[in-house]
């Protein structure tokens, strides 16, 4: 006999249509009380839309939501909270300037006739924090002074203050280090033991195995598998379900770097206090070097320091033998280095400007005569790149905001191609990029290297780094713990090295 109790929460046939895209196309999800239900799927599979529907931030166009077997509608986020569904968003939605207690009771302050009951709020907050195993956080503490992990605890306490029965956690581990993740898991286990259901979203399969009970996989807005046992389902099977392919990383093979290739980029003893220490590596023309490591290991900081966007505390960067001025992006750019930053939207693009101006952002001065712009020439140059990189839609006048992640990435690559870069630094080049465009970007990186560019790639996805790079540097806790050919190492070994590095 199977479980006769109705599931705590059941979503069936959920459809959500956005202008120009069907974000959810029939999603089924069934959550039992006291379980950790993992939601897996690539970027763009519909995970965020689904949790927004659940939170009441989006209204589904079709489908049904049952809570305790009774159909419910969640017309707005407050309704979601009243039903006991709380969401912890990825970018923690706490107010830095308020205290812990004020944050927890934000929107449902304890008050009599408009006067806040500070003492009751403080007492309740203390109880909630103790329940989460964090009695050490003082209720009157300003949230802005807490670490990311502390903020997350506050966010979780807020969910509990609503008597949440379902807590949705959107990539909660993304901002945490290993120890904090352990603590998060402990809290999650305690929550589920008391009957709360947790919907857990993460890209890290190892975490899902550790904490998850069952898995639902989304792909292209549909549920492709549900109720998979988290501990037993093989990784290969999960990847196949998410991508619809057995091999996730379609990286084109490249010929080895030529023996006589000149060294283009030389990084020597580069140090940024509080971030990374004594990093040295060379990159030759036509070579791709990968930096593998976890978020927070210092890999992004290394790229940004090489580029001059951060001022190195010690060490040198040379391009073609010439030493760059530390902390000067314009010197780096002039010497032929280009950086495609991790946060495309906030660090890379002028979102409301046309694509062609984004492509020529580093070079518009070159086309200008006596400081007067030549927009005709800019458009021509941009159009060539749009055609070469197959940016879609192929419209130089379109605003950058309206392009998909993959095409925005191509626009950034185009910017440095126009500039004629000898060294390209790519930080998470395929983050937020769908599978098809991923393959195109891999091919582009291979092309660039074939044309003699020196490329440095940082990615959280270790197979991507290993597949793209000729040589790999494993970074852990701000130190290079391993350097060697990419062919001589596999994902497990990289992870081992990372773990050893952080243990040391």
């Amino acid at each position: 006999m199977v479980n006769v109790d109705p599931p705590l929460l059941q979503m069936s046939g959920i459809v959500k249509q956005f202008p120009g895209a069907r974000a959810l196309d029939g999603v089924d999800l069934e959550i039992r009380a006291g379980e950790v239900h993992c939601l897996l799927g690539q970027n763009g599979a519909g995970k965020s839309t689904l949790i927004k529907v659940l939170a009441g931030a989006h209204q589904p166009d079709e489908g049904q939501i049952l809570l305790d077997g009774r159909p419910v509608t969640i017309p707005h986020p407050v309704a979601g909270l009243r039903l006991g569904i709380a969401t912890m968003y990825q970018e923690l939605d706490v107010v830095d300037g308020l205290s812990v207690a004020e944050n927890i009771y934000l929107g449902h302050e304890l008050a009599t006739a408009g006067f806040s009951q500070r003492r009751a709020a403080t007492a309740n907050t203390r109880a909630l924090l103790r329940r989460l195993g964090h009695g050490d956080i003082a209720p009157h503490r300003e949230v802005g002074r807490l670490s990311a992990a502390g903020k997350q605890i506050v966010s979780m306490a807020r969910a509990l203050s609503h008597d949440a029965r379902v807590i949705v956690m959107d990539e909660p581990s993304a901002v945490l280090d290993a120890e904090e993740v352990d603590n998060l898991f402990r809290v999650v286990r305690e929550l589920t033991a008391s009957g709360v259901a947790v919907v857990y979203i993460s890209h890290r399969l190892d975490e899902i195995r550790q904490i998850g009970d069952r898995i639902t996989v989304l792909k292209d807005g549909r549920t492709v598998a549900t109720g998979l046992p988290a501990a037993q389902t093989p990784t290969a099977e999960l990847i196949r379900l998410m991508t619809g392919r057995t091999v996730e990383y379609a990286i084109p093979p490249r010929p080895p770097v030529r023996e006589d290739a000149a060294t283009v980029l030389q990084v020597d003893g580069l140090t940024l206090r509080g971030s990374f220490h004594d990093v040295s590596f060379d990159v030759r023309a036509g070579e791709v070097v990968g930096l593998a490591g976890l978020v927070g290991s210092g890999r992004t900081e290394i790229l940004e320091t090489v580029f001059g966007a951060r001022h190195a505390t010690a060490g040198t960067v040379r391009v073609g033998g010439r030493r760059l001025r530390p902390g000067s992006v314009s010197d780096a750019v002039r010497s032929g280095i280009g950086l495609c930053p991790e946060e495309r939207k906030s660090q890379g693009l002028l979102l409301d400007e046309p694509v062609y101006r984004n492509i020529t952002l580093s070079t518009f001065g070159r086309n200008a005569r006596a400081s007067f712009l030549d927009e005709g020439a800019e458009r021509t140059v941009a159009r060539e790149q749009i055609d070469a990189l197959d940016v879609r839609p192929a419209d130089p006048e379109r605003r950058a905001r309206t392009l998909s992640g993959g095409n925005q990435q191509k626009v950034l690559l185009a910017r440095w191609l126009v500039h004629g870069c000898r060294v390209l630094l790519l930080d998470e080049p395929t983050r937020g990029v769908d599978v098809g465009a991923r393959a195109e970007i891999y091919a582009l990186v291979a092309d660039l290297a074939a044309q003699g560019a020196a490329v440095v790639v940082v990615s959280s996805e270790i197979p991507e780094v290993l597949g793209l790079a000729d040589r790999v540097l494993v970074v852990s806790e701000g130190r290079v713990v391993h350097e060697g050919p990419a062919s001589g190492i596999d994902e497990h070994r990289v992870l081992d090295l990372v773990m050893e590095g952080s243990a040391a």
Partner: protein
């Protein structure tokens, strides 16, 4: 989300892209483009003029009165052009009114006037421009390199420039006695006062600078996304400094114009002009958060406010009523802009 057009065969994409380009203007509607925004302002200006003609008739519609409006607009107009650059670059300059006062006082001290008498009246102009530029550079260095918030740095300049002007002038009005200077600013060229010509020249130069030069492109980039601009190799700090220097220079020009118009240097010259300039820029359609600026819009904004003042004066309405009307116009214009911005964002 998903890349919809990626499903379109390559040979077809060219055709679609051509079609989409030709529809961009029509689909968004004429009120959504830059020309559309300006058209709205033109309509508002025309409506004001019609109202003026109906209520004040000949008194409003005479050439003399139109020239009065333009003369009234010219000083604020020049300040607003400088302000457009600062705001487009993501900043704000509260000090321009005070710098007008300071530069007009400095350029009309006994010492400066004596020197001008001995050499050429252009010395006074040079002095005012140098003072304006200097004040702007101080603002710029503090904001760009000292990392002082623009609001505070220029507020400090507002207060201290006014104080310095009072010290220099000893709270007295300094009458300009340099005949060459007075003659130049009293002159008309083809029937149009010199002050108005200066405004026209500054506006045209500003338009070219913002829309046709690398300086303008950098301004938009720095205001639109300073981090992206920096990572693209643009020297954001240096450019920010230039923007405040430019605004200071415009204030220096404004100081000269005040001297020409009132024939006297006074520490009270240009009081509260910064607010009129900011209002004109914002009503004109320049985004207060930076990244988008329009000189034509600014000019129209300035004209709307000075015409409004004139219409009210012609009808013997109080200055207080004017102030209320100005406030309403600012709010309505900004509300409309937000709607348009939201719709164009959603529409694509």
């Amino acid at each position: 989300m998903t890349d919809i057009p990626a499903a379109v065969p390559a040979d077809e994409s060219a055709r679609i892209e051509k079609a989409s380009r030709s529809t961009t203007t029509t689909r968004k509607g004429f009120l959504h483009g830059a020309t559309g925004r300006n058209l709205g302002l033109v309509i508002a200006l025309v409506a004001l003029c019609i109202f003026g003609v109906i209520t004040a008739g000949e008194r409003f519609a005479s050439i003399d009165n139109v020239l009065t409006i333009l003369r009234l607009a010219s000083v604020i107009g020049v300040l607003s052009i400088g302000m457009t650059f600062v705001i487009t670059g993501g900043g704000i300059d509260l000090s321009v009114g005070s710098v007008v006062g300071l530069s007009s006082v400095w350029a009309s001290t006994l010492a400066t006037q004596t020197m001008a008498q001995d050499t050429h009246w252009i010395v006074m102009v040079g002095c005012a421009l140098a003072v304006g530029l200097g004040a702007g550079l101080v603002n710029g260095v503090l904001i760009a390199y000292g990392r002082v918030v623009a609001f505070i740095a220029t507020l400090a300049m507002l207060v201290s420039a006014r104080g310095l002007a009072e010290i220099i002038a000893n709270r007295q009005t300094q009458i300009v006695k340099v005949q060459g200077f007075l003659d130049f600013f009293r002159d008309d060229v083809i029937g149009i006062p010199m002050l108005v010509w200066i405004f026209v020249v500054v506006a045209v130069a500003g338009w070219i600078l913002l829309n046709r030069t690398t300086f303008g492109r950098r301004t938009i980039a720095v205001g639109g996304n300073p981090e992206a601009a920096r990572l693209a190799g643009i020297k954001v700090k240096r450019h920010t400094m230039y923007l405040y220097a430019l605004s200071g220079l415009a204030a220096g020009i404004g100081g000269v114009m005040m001297l020409g118009r009132t024939t006297a240097g006074s520490s009270t010259n240009g009081q509260l002009y910064e607010l009129d300039a900011i209002a004109a820029v914002v009503v004109g359609g320049t985004l207060l958060i930076g990244g988008r600026g329009t000189i034509v819009g600014t000019v129209l904004g300035v004209l709307i406010f000075s015409t409004l003042t004139n219409v009210f004066t012609q009808n013997n309405l109080s200055i207080s009523a004017q102030a209320v009307a100005k406030g309403v116009i600012i709010v309505v214009a900004v509300l409309l802009q937000q709607r348009i911005a939201e719709r164009s964002r959603a529409g694509t």
